[in-house]
């Protein structure tokens, strides 16, 4: 991978981290609030169904995760097992696309 792409990945990792820092704080507060009386489908869906605010929030959250996690994984694969190059890049790109697809499917599932 050329230097320009490496810098682009580095930047994407940091910008996604900044977005995630905010998303995770909101997510943790929501989790702690939501579990206080036990989790139920009615309670979760009552909060998320038809709510454009949560839809927008989780859509951005999933996008940031789908960028952040595979770039981190790419570094771990290179440094821990020495898997680098085109095959590793294709693998992490597939992970990114899977996370985005499954993540947005989950967002849709609790919205409709």
């Amino acid at each position: 991978m050329n230097t320009r792409s490496q810098v682009l990945l580095w930047g994407a990792q940091r910008v996604s981290a900044m977005v995630l820092a905010l998303c995770v704080v909101i997510h943790l507060v929501t989790i702690i609030y939501a579990v206080r009386n036990g989790l139920s489908a009615a309670e979760i869906l009552g909060r998320t169904r038809g709510n454009a605010g949560w839809l927008a929030f989780y859509t951005v959250f999933v996008a940031a995760v789908a960028i952040h996690a595979p770039i981190g994984l790419r570094g771990i694969l290179a440094e821990s097992i020495g898997w680098r190059g085109r095959s590793a890049d294709i693998f992490v790109l597939a992970i990114a696309m899977s996370l985005a697809t499954w993540g947005w499917r989950a967002v849709y599932a609790v919205f409709v």
Binding site: R14, A17, M18, L20, A21, V24, V25, H27, L28, I31, I32, V35, R36, G38, L39, S40, A41, A42, I44, L45, V65, A69, G72, L73, I76, I95, S98, L99, W102, G103, R105, A106, V107, Y108, A109, V110, V112
Partner: protein, 115 residues
């Protein structure tokens, strides 16, 4: 100093290990998390059935560990962003301790709520 355990046994190294391991475990957990939420597509009853399964003590224990991992990864990540983008001063080293403390506090808050 040789590149052995002694060279690595310092707080910044352990912060690196925690960040890497938590990041990897959270990534592995994501497909399961998305699958679980996707149960809502098959109706509220199916989603509720899954949520009842999560009430087992072992699952609650795993959930607490995941919340702790998420809090630790976020706190460690914010520390890294501050290291990279802000001027690093001696007093900011205490951020490491604050990051650890905040993670544990979040984990305990979750545990107290679910038990």
């Amino acid at each position: 100093m040789k590149n052995d355990f002694r060279a690595r046994n310092h707080p910044a190294y352990w912060a690196f290990v925690v960040h890497r391991v938590s990041g990897l475990l959270l990534t592995l957990f994501l497909p399961l998390h998305f699958w679980a939420l996707g149960q809502a597509l098959h109706g509220e009853a199916r989603f509720d059935g899954f949520l009842r399964w999560t009430e087992q003590p072992l699952v609650k224990f795993a959930e607490t560990a995941l919340v702790l991992l998420l809090a630790a990864h976020m706190a460690g990540g914010v520390r890294l962003l501050m290291l990279e983008f802000l001027a690093w001063r001696d007093w900011q080293r205490s951020l490491l301790a604050i990051a650890s403390g905040a993670s544990i506090a979040v984990g305990l808050a979750f545990l107290l709520n679910v038990v």
